[in-house]
């Protein structure tokens, strides 16, 4: 292990207490964990000032492993708890990790409203297109026609695009990455953490144990190949780079898809406080 990796591991992981982790060997969650701690380290935000919040699912277990202020809440509600933390103590940097089901099925309402309010939170969504923890049932991002344990005859529903949902709902910053493109992922998470306002990183990840097994991608390597071959990296703010072709247009766009400046909720609420105090003294 290179020296700097060892140092980061020592600094950010509850290495002496909580390992081995519960994830399947080769699960994308581990890659996201690595990316997250590198991004936090590079962001320069003090460990003590970070709260990492997660919901329920395989992805939700991430909070156990990281030596920050950590909170593991109910299924789908992580953004609500995070909203309370952030409004009660604005000096804290609140990062929320969710699965696709957690964030967009049971927690879909909280997700769009946190984006609409432009809460100063970082939402990291590990999109493995399935409910991993409960054994491979379909989620709002499960592709049409694929097999899951609750769509044995093929899935008939349309999918959410998590990034487009976040863009439409009013997030300040939206990026998409994959667990194959780790350097891009490190950058995206770091930018999201440093961004003021609601920032979303959607990460395409693999659950070979369930999704892969039923859909012809039994190994993590097969999933990695798929990610490698089916994405196009966009340039600044979501545009495909010059030289785009019909072929790149077909692909899943990864990179920073939206990055705008707008007032964040806590700043707006400070105006409310000032106004209320003025009205009291006048």
């Amino acid at each position: 292990m290179p020296q700097e990796v060892a140092e980061i591991v020592r600094k950010y992981l509850r290495h002496d207490k909580k390992f081995p982790h519960i994830w399947c060997a080769g699960c994308g969650n581990g890659i996201v964990l690595g990316s997250l701690i590198r991004a936090i380290d590079l962001s320069g935000v003090e460990k003590d000032n970070i709260v990492l919040v997660s919901g329920i699912g395989c992805s939700g277990r991430i909070t156990v492993y990281v030596d920050l202020n950590t909170l593991h809440v109910t299924h789908g509600r992580a953004l609500s708890f995070a909203t309370g933390i952030k409004l009660a103590k604005d000096s804290l940097k609140v990062i929320v990790v969710m699965g696709d089901g957690d964030a967009t099925a049971i927690g879909g309402n909280h997700f769009i409203h946190a984006a609409r309010r432009n809460m100063d939170l970082t939402a990291i969504i590990i999109n493995n297109q399935i409910y991993g923890m409960t054994g491979g049932q379909y989620s709002p991002t499960t592709p049409y026609d694929s097999k899951t344990t609750t769509s044995p005859y093929g899935h008939i529903e349309n999918t959410f695009s998590i990034s487009e949902l976040a863009i439409a709902a009013g997030a300040s910053f939206v990026a998409r990455g994959t667990v194959y493109h780790t350097q891009l992922l490190d950058d995206a998470i770091r930018l999201a953490i440093l961004k003021k306002g609601f920032s979303v990183v959607e990460i395409l990840s693999n659950c070979h144990t369930h999704y892969g097994k039923l859909n012809g991608m039994e190994t993590p390597v097969a999933a990695m190949r798929w990610f490698r071959d089916h994405v196009a990296v966009v340039g600044k703010e979501g545009a495909l780079p010059p030289g785009r072709s019909a072929e790149t247009d077909e692909k899943i766009r990864i990179g920073v898809l939206k990055n705008v400046e707008k007032p964040v909720y806590s700043e707006e609420y400070q105006k409310v406080r000032d106004h209320a105090k003025n009205s009291l003294s006048s």
Binding site: R77, S80, G84, K89, A276, K277
Partner: protein, 381 residues
């Protein structure tokens, strides 16, 4: 400083407003909720009052989110509460259980209206008593307090915050539509006349902090996020360090402690008021707005020579069995009038053990039980 709670002051307030003032006096600086009749005035007044005090009010997208935000704020070190009525209270149950499990102090007000379902939005009821005790799944400790007057709304809310901070449990305040919307002139206690208790913070360095370690009270000190303790908080069964566990010995120790801390504090938590009970032969056991009707009925019965008395329950859970037992031993009959099908009368019967006769009187038609009705029941005895 606040206009209320700082000086002795006679003010005209409705129950819902007095709850807000009580909360603020107790140190509440965060409110998250979702509008619902007959609790909306609590949100409305909070939205005006909290920003004046550098606090925070937010109207969330639903009650599930409201309860989540309240717990989040409390974990960040700010006393927090929410308020709702039946339908919203149902939505809060899962996160309420989280607060029990992770031992996060917070206060939830349920201004009861007729149910089930959307029920009777603008009429009073006491139908949520058992839900307040057992609404969230699993074995769990919780404290439930009932208010019956505007002054109660202030004082019991202060009490609710104190208990939640002291025992690290969610405290549910049950009000009802009558208490909520009755306006009365009250003299609010001034600062110094009541205690505002704050949770105990850890004093040890972070490396020595064991977030869920047992102690004599069964209530471990609570660090807020951002104080350097970087601990883990979860709704899963956890060991003393707060990390998930499936070890039977650790689970048993946790659940045991969660119950023990309330049992140990029982005498302090149990709150009742008695009226003319000293020589009473017939007791009315009542709570909430019904206890006001009962008080009047007791006076009327006394005028007719019937030795009646009132035991008003403030603490509903843990059930104040010692006070109830005492009343049952003293009186030949106990009458329990309630605006439900008999939720507290069951508890009274449970502790009665055939010592006395327990009669119930119930209304579920959205109407208050009047003094005359209780009086009629009393003279029949």
């Amino acid at each position: 400083m606040s206009a209320f709670g700082s000086d002795k002051k006679r003010v005209l307030l409705q129950g819902n407003e007095a709850i807000v003032e009580g909360a603020i006096a107790a140190g509440c600086r965060f409110f998250a909720g979702y509008p619902i009749t007959p609790a909306s005035e609590i949100s409305e007044r909070m939205s005006r009052r909290l920003p004046q005090l550098d606090g925070t009010f937010i109207q969330m997208e639903d009650e599930i989110a409201g309860m989540g935000a309240v717990i989040g704020a409390s974990l960040a070190g700010v006393k927090s509460m929410t308020a709702t009525s039946g339908p919203g209270f149902s939505l809060m149950q899962e996160n309420l259980g989280f607060a029990c499990m992770a031992e996060v102090p917070c206060v939830v007000v349920n201004v009861m209206r007729g149910g089930p379902s959307t029920g009777l939005p603008t009429n009073p009821s006491q139908g949520d008593v058992m839900q307040a005790r057992w609404g969230t799944h699993g074995d769990h400790p919780v404290i439930v307090l009932a208010v019956s007057t505007v002054l109660d709304c202030f004082q019991i809310t202060v009490e609710a915050f104190n208990m939640s901070e002291k025992y690290r449990v969610p405290v549910v305040i049950l009000s009802d539509e009558i208490v909520a919307h009755t306006r009365e002139v009250v003299t609010l206690p001034s600062v110094g006349e009541f205690e505002a208790y704050n949770r105990v913070s850890p004093k040890m360095p972070p490396e020595w902090y064991i977030p869920y370690a047992d102690n004599s009270m069964g209530v471990p000190p609570m660090a807020a996020f951002g104080e350097g303790y970087h601990h883990h908080v979860t709704g899963l069964m956890h060991d003393v360090r707060g990390f998930p566990t499936q070890r039977p010995d650790e689970i048993e120790a946790l659940v045991g402690r969660l119950f023990r801390k309330i049992t140990q504090g029982f005498h302090e938590i149990q709150k009742v008021e008695t009226f003319m009970m000293d020589d009473a032969e017939v007791a009315v056991i009542a709570y909430g707005s019904v206890s006001r009707s009962a008080r009047r009925a007791v006076l009327d019965a006394r005028r007719q020579g019937l030795k009646a008395g009132l035991l008003k329950l403030i603490t509903l859970f843990p059930f104040p069995r010692h006070s109830v037992e005492e009343a049952l031993q003293k009186c030949r009959v106990a009458l329990v009038p309630e605006m439900n099908m008999g939720q507290i009368s069951r508890e009274v019967k449970r502790v009665n053990q055939t010592v006395s006769i327990v009669k119930k009187y119930n209304r579920v038609d959205g109407q208050l039980i009047t003094p005359q009705e209780i009086y009629q029941q009393l003279i029949k005895i």
